[in-house]
Protein backbone atom coordinates (compact mmCIF):
# COMPACT_ATOMS: atom_id res chain seq x y z
CA UNK A 1 0.00 0.00 0.00
CA UNK A 2 2.73 2.35 1.14
CA UNK A 3 4.82 1.47 -1.84
CA UNK A 4 1.84 2.02 -4.16
CA UNK A 5 1.35 5.44 -2.63
CA UNK A 6 5.04 6.11 -3.04
CA UNK A 7 4.90 5.07 -6.66
CA UNK A 8 1.91 7.32 -7.28
CA UNK A 9 3.72 10.19 -5.59
CA UNK A 10 6.86 9.75 -7.62
CA UNK A 11 4.78 9.41 -10.77
CA UNK A 12 3.07 12.69 -9.91
CA UNK A 13 6.40 14.41 -9.40
CA UNK A 14 7.69 12.99 -12.66
CA UNK A 15 4.54 14.13 -14.46
CA UNK A 16 4.85 17.62 -13.00
CA UNK A 17 8.48 17.79 -14.06
CA UNK A 18 7.57 16.65 -17.56
CA UNK A 19 4.74 19.17 -17.76
CA UNK A 20 6.98 21.92 -16.45
CA UNK A 21 9.48 21.12 -19.15
CA UNK A 22 6.70 21.15 -21.76
CA UNK A 23 5.48 24.49 -20.47
CA UNK A 24 8.97 25.95 -20.64
CA UNK A 25 9.41 24.60 -24.15
CA UNK A 26 6.12 26.09 -25.28
CA UNK A 27 6.94 29.47 -23.75
CA UNK A 28 10.43 29.53 -25.24
CA UNK A 29 9.10 28.63 -28.66
CA UNK A 30 6.46 31.32 -28.38
CA UNK A 31 9.02 33.80 -27.11
CA UNK A 32 11.16 33.23 -30.19
CA UNK A 33 8.23 33.86 -32.49
CA UNK A 34 7.47 37.32 -31.11
CA UNK A 35 8.94 39.95 -33.36
CA UNK A 36 10.06 43.11 -31.62
CA UNK A 37 9.30 46.15 -33.79
CA UNK A 38 12.53 47.60 -35.11
CA UNK A 39 11.63 51.15 -34.17
CA UNK A 40 10.22 50.29 -30.75
CA UNK A 41 12.83 52.29 -28.88
CA UNK A 42 12.31 55.35 -31.06
CA UNK A 43 8.56 55.03 -30.69
CA UNK A 44 8.81 54.86 -26.93
CA UNK A 45 11.21 57.72 -26.51
CA UNK A 46 10.27 59.99 -29.38
CA UNK A 47 8.07 62.77 -28.10
CA UNK A 48 5.06 64.21 -29.79
CA UNK A 49 4.48 67.44 -27.94
CA UNK A 50 0.97 68.36 -26.97
CA UNK A 51 0.05 71.26 -29.24
CA UNK A 52 0.26 74.58 -27.44
CA UNK A 53 -3.24 75.62 -28.36
CA UNK A 54 -4.73 72.33 -27.31
CA UNK A 55 -6.48 72.92 -24.03
CA UNK A 56 -8.99 70.10 -23.98
CA UNK A 57 -9.18 66.98 -21.92
CA UNK A 58 -6.67 65.18 -24.07
CA UNK A 59 -3.87 67.57 -23.23
CA UNK A 60 -4.90 67.81 -19.63
CA UNK A 61 -5.04 64.12 -19.05
CA UNK A 62 -1.80 63.60 -20.93
CA UNK A 63 -0.03 66.07 -18.72
CA UNK A 64 -1.61 64.62 -15.61
CA UNK A 65 -0.50 61.15 -16.50
CA UNK A 66 3.11 61.96 -17.12
CA UNK A 67 3.86 65.28 -15.54
CA UNK A 68 5.28 67.35 -18.34
CA UNK A 69 6.13 64.28 -20.32
CA UNK A 70 5.76 64.60 -24.02
CA UNK A 71 2.96 62.46 -25.31
CA UNK A 72 4.08 59.54 -27.33
CA UNK A 73 2.57 59.15 -30.72
CA UNK A 74 1.15 55.92 -29.43
CA UNK A 75 -0.71 57.51 -26.62
CA UNK A 76 -3.55 59.92 -26.27
CA UNK A 77 -4.53 60.53 -22.69
CA UNK A 78 -3.58 58.35 -19.80
CA UNK A 79 -4.97 55.00 -20.88
CA UNK A 80 -4.02 52.49 -23.46
CA UNK A 81 -5.57 53.02 -26.83
CA UNK A 82 -5.38 49.97 -28.96
CA UNK A 83 -8.17 50.00 -31.43
CA UNK A 84 -10.72 51.07 -28.85
CA UNK A 85 -13.64 53.32 -29.63
CA UNK A 86 -11.65 56.45 -28.75
CA UNK A 87 -8.64 55.69 -30.90
CA UNK A 88 -9.70 56.98 -34.28
CA UNK A 89 -11.72 60.00 -33.10
CA UNK A 90 -8.87 60.99 -30.77
CA UNK A 91 -6.20 60.53 -33.40
CA UNK A 92 -8.33 62.32 -35.95
CA UNK A 93 -8.81 65.27 -33.62
CA UNK A 94 -5.12 65.32 -32.87
CA UNK A 95 -4.22 65.31 -36.55
CA UNK A 96 -6.64 68.15 -37.24
CA UNK A 97 -5.31 70.22 -34.35
CA UNK A 98 -1.72 69.48 -35.32
CA UNK A 99 -2.34 70.45 -38.94
CA UNK A 100 -4.11 73.64 -37.87
CA UNK A 101 -1.23 74.59 -35.60
CA UNK A 102 1.29 73.66 -38.26
CA UNK A 103 -0.49 75.87 -40.76
CA UNK A 104 -0.65 78.68 -38.22
CA UNK A 105 3.04 78.52 -37.46
CA UNK A 106 3.89 78.20 -41.11
CA UNK A 107 2.06 81.49 -41.60
CA UNK A 108 3.88 83.05 -38.69
CA UNK A 109 7.20 81.90 -40.06
CA UNK A 110 6.36 83.27 -43.47
CA UNK A 111 5.69 86.67 -42.02
CA UNK A 112 8.46 86.82 -39.49
CA UNK A 113 11.44 85.38 -41.35
CA UNK A 114 12.87 82.03 -40.63
CA UNK A 115 14.30 81.64 -37.18
CA UNK A 116 17.08 79.21 -36.40
CA UNK A 117 16.59 78.03 -32.83
CA UNK A 118 17.71 81.26 -31.30
CA UNK A 119 15.10 83.83 -32.03
CA UNK A 120 14.56 86.95 -30.02
CA UNK A 121 11.04 88.03 -30.68
CA UNK A 122 10.24 90.51 -27.95
CA UNK A 123 6.60 90.60 -28.96
CA UNK A 124 6.00 87.01 -27.96
CA UNK A 125 8.33 86.82 -24.98
CA UNK A 126 7.14 85.69 -21.60
CA UNK A 127 8.70 85.93 -18.18
CA UNK A 128 9.55 82.68 -16.49
CA UNK A 129 10.29 82.14 -12.85
CA UNK A 130 13.08 79.70 -12.15
CA UNK A 131 11.96 76.83 -9.95
CA UNK A 132 14.27 74.62 -7.93
CA UNK A 133 12.30 71.75 -6.45
CA UNK A 134 14.85 71.22 -3.71
CA UNK A 135 13.36 73.07 -0.79
CA UNK A 136 16.72 73.41 0.96
CA UNK A 137 18.03 75.28 -2.06
CA UNK A 138 15.20 77.68 -2.62
CA UNK A 139 16.56 80.39 -0.33
CA UNK A 140 20.23 79.82 -0.93
CA UNK A 141 22.31 81.57 -3.56
CA UNK A 142 25.22 79.22 -3.46
CA UNK A 143 26.90 77.67 -6.45
CA UNK A 144 25.65 74.32 -5.20
CA UNK A 145 22.09 75.51 -5.45
CA UNK A 146 22.32 77.20 -8.80
CA UNK A 147 20.71 75.81 -11.93
CA UNK A 148 22.56 75.78 -15.21
CA UNK A 149 21.77 77.58 -18.41
CA UNK A 150 22.96 75.69 -21.47
CA UNK A 151 24.39 77.22 -24.64
CA UNK A 152 23.03 74.38 -26.71
CA UNK A 153 20.09 72.33 -25.48
CA UNK A 154 21.10 69.37 -27.57
CA UNK A 155 24.70 69.20 -26.37
CA UNK A 156 25.69 67.49 -23.09
CA UNK A 157 24.32 69.53 -20.22
CA UNK A 158 27.63 70.16 -18.52
CA UNK A 159 31.07 71.68 -18.81
CA UNK A 160 31.65 74.13 -21.63
CA UNK A 161 28.00 73.99 -22.60
CA UNK A 162 27.02 75.89 -19.44
CA UNK A 163 26.89 79.63 -20.07
CA UNK A 164 25.10 80.89 -17.01
CA UNK A 165 23.53 80.12 -13.68
CA UNK A 166 20.19 81.01 -12.19
CA UNK A 167 18.59 80.47 -8.82
CA UNK A 168 15.14 79.65 -7.55
CA UNK A 169 12.74 82.55 -7.87
CA UNK A 170 14.73 84.49 -10.45
CA UNK A 171 12.98 85.85 -13.50
CA UNK A 172 14.20 85.18 -17.01
CA UNK A 173 12.71 86.18 -20.34
CA UNK A 174 11.80 83.32 -22.67
CA UNK A 175 11.16 84.02 -26.31
CA UNK A 176 10.58 80.51 -27.56
CA UNK A 177 10.65 76.87 -26.61
CA UNK A 178 11.64 73.57 -28.15
CA UNK A 179 9.58 70.60 -27.13
CA UNK A 180 11.82 67.80 -28.28
CA UNK A 181 15.00 68.55 -26.39
CA UNK A 182 16.79 66.10 -24.14
CA UNK A 183 14.57 64.69 -21.44
CA UNK A 184 15.30 66.08 -18.00
CA UNK A 185 13.61 65.39 -14.67
CA UNK A 186 13.97 67.41 -11.50
CA UNK A 187 14.36 66.04 -8.00
CA UNK A 188 10.60 65.94 -7.45
CA UNK A 189 9.98 63.81 -10.50
CA UNK A 190 8.66 66.53 -12.80
CA UNK A 191 10.12 65.83 -16.18
CA UNK A 192 10.08 67.53 -19.53
CA UNK A 193 11.65 67.67 -22.94
CA UNK A 194 10.83 71.34 -23.20
CA UNK A 195 13.75 73.74 -23.20
CA UNK A 196 13.16 77.47 -23.12
CA UNK A 197 15.35 79.92 -24.99
CA UNK A 198 15.94 82.53 -22.31
CA UNK A 199 17.71 85.79 -21.69
CA UNK A 200 18.99 86.39 -18.18
CA UNK A 201 18.92 89.82 -16.52
CA UNK A 202 22.65 90.23 -17.25
CA UNK A 203 22.07 89.64 -20.94
CA UNK A 204 23.27 86.05 -21.04
CA UNK A 205 21.34 84.04 -23.56
CA UNK A 206 20.89 80.29 -23.28
CA UNK A 207 18.49 77.46 -22.65
CA UNK A 208 16.62 76.61 -19.45
CA UNK A 209 15.21 73.09 -19.03
CA UNK A 210 11.45 73.03 -18.71
CA UNK A 211 11.73 71.00 -15.52
CA UNK A 212 13.39 74.05 -13.94
CA UNK A 213 10.34 76.25 -14.14
CA UNK A 214 6.62 75.85 -13.62
CA UNK A 215 5.41 77.72 -16.64
CA UNK A 216 1.72 78.04 -17.46
CA UNK A 217 1.94 80.48 -20.36
CA UNK A 218 2.19 79.76 -24.05
CA UNK A 219 5.31 80.76 -25.85
CA UNK A 220 6.30 80.45 -29.48
CA UNK A 221 8.00 77.31 -30.70
CA UNK A 222 11.58 77.82 -31.82
CA UNK A 223 12.12 77.01 -35.46
Amino acid sequence: MGSERGDAGSQGVARDAADSAALSRLLRQADESIVVPEDLWERITEPMPVPEAQSGAVAASAKRSAGEHPVSRLRVGSGFISGGRWLYPALGALVVVTLAIGAFWAGVSWQQHRRVESPVDVGSSITLTVYNSEKACQDLRTIECSLSIAANPRAPYSGANIVGRVWHGEKVVADCVITNGPYLADESGVSSRRWYHVTLPDGTVGWLPGARTRNTQNVALCH
Binding site: D19, S20, L23, G84, C145, Y157, S158, R165, G189
Partner: protein
Protein backbone atom coordinates in the same frame (compact mmCIF):
# COMPACT_ATOMS: atom_id res chain seq x y z
CA UNK B 1 21.79 66.19 -3.89
CA UNK B 2 22.02 69.92 -3.76
CA UNK B 3 24.44 70.67 -6.45
CA UNK B 4 24.29 73.23 -9.08
CA UNK B 5 25.06 70.64 -11.50
CA UNK B 6 22.19 68.54 -10.34
CA UNK B 7 20.78 69.18 -13.79
CA UNK B 8 23.74 67.59 -15.44
CA UNK B 9 23.65 64.78 -12.88
CA UNK B 10 20.03 64.17 -13.74
CA UNK B 11 20.84 64.25 -17.42
CA UNK B 12 23.60 61.74 -16.89
CA UNK B 13 21.31 59.56 -14.76
CA UNK B 14 18.76 59.59 -17.52
CA UNK B 15 21.33 58.61 -20.10
CA UNK B 16 22.33 55.69 -17.92
CA UNK B 17 18.68 54.85 -17.41
CA UNK B 18 18.01 54.88 -21.13
CA UNK B 19 21.01 52.65 -21.79
CA UNK B 20 19.82 50.20 -19.17
CA UNK B 21 16.23 50.25 -20.35
CA UNK B 22 17.30 49.73 -23.94
CA UNK B 23 19.16 46.58 -22.93
CA UNK B 24 16.05 44.96 -21.46
CA UNK B 25 13.55 46.43 -23.90
CA UNK B 26 13.26 43.52 -26.37
CA UNK B 27 12.73 41.03 -23.58
CA UNK B 28 10.27 43.32 -21.82
CA UNK B 29 8.30 43.78 -25.00
CA UNK B 30 8.05 40.04 -25.61
CA UNK B 31 6.85 39.50 -22.05
CA UNK B 32 4.30 42.25 -22.49
CA UNK B 33 3.00 40.50 -25.62
CA UNK B 34 2.43 37.37 -23.53
CA UNK B 35 0.64 39.30 -20.83
CA UNK B 36 -1.33 41.89 -22.74
CA UNK B 37 -1.30 40.87 -26.40
CA UNK B 38 0.60 42.51 -29.21
CA UNK B 39 -1.85 45.38 -29.49
CA UNK B 40 -1.22 46.53 -25.95
CA UNK B 41 2.35 45.44 -25.44
CA UNK B 42 3.91 48.59 -26.80
CA UNK B 43 1.77 50.83 -24.65
CA UNK B 44 2.51 48.72 -21.61
CA UNK B 45 6.24 49.02 -22.19
CA UNK B 46 5.87 52.72 -22.85
CA UNK B 47 3.91 53.20 -19.65
CA UNK B 48 6.59 51.37 -17.73
CA UNK B 49 9.25 53.53 -19.35
CA UNK B 50 7.48 56.73 -18.33
CA UNK B 51 6.92 55.49 -14.82
CA UNK B 52 10.47 54.30 -14.29
CA UNK B 53 12.12 57.30 -15.91
CA UNK B 54 10.67 59.55 -13.23
CA UNK B 55 13.19 57.91 -10.88
CA UNK B 56 15.95 56.86 -13.26
CA UNK B 57 18.42 55.99 -10.52
CA UNK B 58 16.21 53.23 -9.18
CA UNK B 59 16.49 51.14 -12.31
CA UNK B 60 20.14 51.98 -12.83
CA UNK B 61 21.08 50.98 -9.29
CA UNK B 62 18.82 47.96 -9.09
CA UNK B 63 20.69 44.65 -8.89
CA UNK B 64 18.24 43.15 -11.41
CA UNK B 65 17.15 45.90 -13.80
CA UNK B 66 15.16 43.47 -15.93
CA UNK B 67 13.20 42.17 -12.96
CA UNK B 68 12.50 45.71 -11.76
CA UNK B 69 11.33 46.80 -15.19
CA UNK B 70 9.29 43.63 -15.64
CA UNK B 71 7.40 44.36 -12.43
CA UNK B 72 6.67 47.85 -13.76
CA UNK B 73 5.32 46.40 -17.00
CA UNK B 74 3.06 44.02 -15.08
CA UNK B 75 1.84 46.92 -12.99
CA UNK B 76 1.15 49.00 -16.11
CA UNK B 77 -0.82 46.15 -17.64
CA UNK B 78 -2.87 45.65 -14.52
CA UNK B 79 -3.64 49.37 -14.36
CA UNK B 80 -4.68 49.34 -17.99
CA UNK B 81 -6.92 46.34 -17.54
CA UNK B 82 -8.56 47.97 -14.56
CA UNK B 83 -9.37 50.96 -16.75
CA UNK B 84 -10.36 49.26 -19.94
CA UNK B 85 -11.14 45.66 -19.14
CA UNK B 86 -9.31 42.60 -20.21
CA UNK B 87 -8.83 42.08 -23.88
CA UNK B 88 -10.61 39.32 -25.71
CA UNK B 89 -8.47 36.25 -25.76
CA UNK B 90 -7.73 34.15 -28.76
CA UNK B 91 -10.15 31.24 -28.61
CA UNK B 92 -8.89 29.22 -31.51
CA UNK B 93 -5.64 29.08 -33.31
CA UNK B 94 -6.39 30.27 -36.83
CA UNK B 95 -5.94 27.56 -39.43
CA UNK B 96 -3.87 29.67 -41.75
CA UNK B 97 -2.74 32.92 -40.23
CA UNK B 98 -2.50 35.63 -42.83
CA UNK B 99 0.23 37.53 -41.07
CA UNK B 100 2.42 34.55 -40.35
CA UNK B 101 6.02 35.59 -40.45
CA UNK B 102 7.57 32.35 -39.40
CA UNK B 103 6.97 28.63 -39.39
CA UNK B 104 3.38 27.87 -38.59
CA UNK B 105 4.23 25.72 -35.59
CA UNK B 106 6.22 28.54 -34.06
CA UNK B 107 3.34 30.95 -34.51
CA UNK B 108 1.03 28.34 -33.02
CA UNK B 109 3.23 28.19 -29.98
CA UNK B 110 2.66 31.89 -29.49
CA UNK B 111 -1.09 31.52 -29.73
CA UNK B 112 -1.14 28.50 -27.47
CA UNK B 113 1.00 30.25 -24.90
CA UNK B 114 -1.24 33.29 -25.06
CA UNK B 115 -4.33 31.15 -24.60
CA UNK B 116 -2.76 29.30 -21.74
CA UNK B 117 -1.62 32.42 -19.94
CA UNK B 118 -4.97 34.03 -20.68
CA UNK B 119 -6.54 31.60 -18.24
CA UNK B 120 -4.52 33.13 -15.44
CA UNK B 121 -4.62 36.55 -13.87
CA UNK B 122 -1.94 38.96 -15.07
CA UNK B 123 0.04 38.46 -11.91
CA UNK B 124 -0.19 34.70 -12.13
CA UNK B 125 0.83 34.78 -15.78
CA UNK B 126 3.74 37.03 -14.88
CA UNK B 127 4.81 34.53 -12.23
CA UNK B 128 4.75 31.71 -14.76
CA UNK B 129 6.85 33.74 -17.20
CA UNK B 130 9.42 34.56 -14.55
CA UNK B 131 9.78 30.95 -13.43
CA UNK B 132 9.21 28.92 -16.57
CA UNK B 133 10.66 31.24 -19.16
CA UNK B 134 13.14 33.48 -17.38
CA UNK B 135 14.38 30.80 -15.02
CA UNK B 136 13.85 32.53 -11.70
CA UNK B 137 13.07 30.43 -8.66
CA UNK B 138 9.63 30.59 -7.11
CA UNK B 139 10.99 32.67 -4.24
CA UNK B 140 12.71 35.09 -6.59
CA UNK B 141 9.58 35.47 -8.69
CA UNK B 142 7.56 36.11 -5.56
CA UNK B 143 10.02 38.83 -4.53
CA UNK B 144 9.96 40.47 -7.94
CA UNK B 145 6.17 40.55 -8.06
CA UNK B 146 5.84 41.32 -4.39
CA UNK B 147 3.53 38.41 -3.76
CA UNK B 148 3.63 35.38 -1.51
CA UNK B 149 5.49 32.36 -2.84
CA UNK B 150 2.23 30.39 -2.55
CA UNK B 151 0.74 32.69 -5.16
CA UNK B 152 3.52 31.83 -7.55
CA UNK B 153 3.19 28.11 -6.83
CA UNK B 154 -0.55 28.20 -7.38
CA UNK B 155 -0.09 30.14 -10.59
CA UNK B 156 2.24 27.52 -11.93
CA UNK B 157 -0.10 24.72 -10.84
CA UNK B 158 -2.93 26.41 -12.73
CA UNK B 159 -0.74 26.92 -15.78
CA UNK B 160 0.30 23.26 -15.77
CA UNK B 161 -3.31 22.18 -15.38
CA UNK B 162 -4.29 24.39 -18.30
CA UNK B 163 -1.49 22.93 -20.35
CA UNK B 164 -2.66 19.40 -19.62
CA UNK B 165 -6.20 20.32 -20.58
CA UNK B 166 -4.98 21.78 -23.84
CA UNK B 167 -2.88 18.72 -24.57
CA UNK B 168 -5.81 16.40 -23.88
CA UNK B 169 -8.03 18.46 -26.13
CA UNK B 170 -5.48 18.18 -28.91
CA UNK B 171 -5.27 14.41 -28.44
Amino acid sequence: MTTADSDSDLGAALEEFNAEFLKVLPRLYRRAVFLAGAARAEDAVHDAYLKLSARPERLVNHPEPYAYAFAAVVSAIRDSIRRTGRQVLVEQVPDSPEDSTGPIDVREAEWEATRLLGRLTERQAAAVLLVDLDGYTIDQAADILNVHRGTVSRARARALAALRTMMKAED
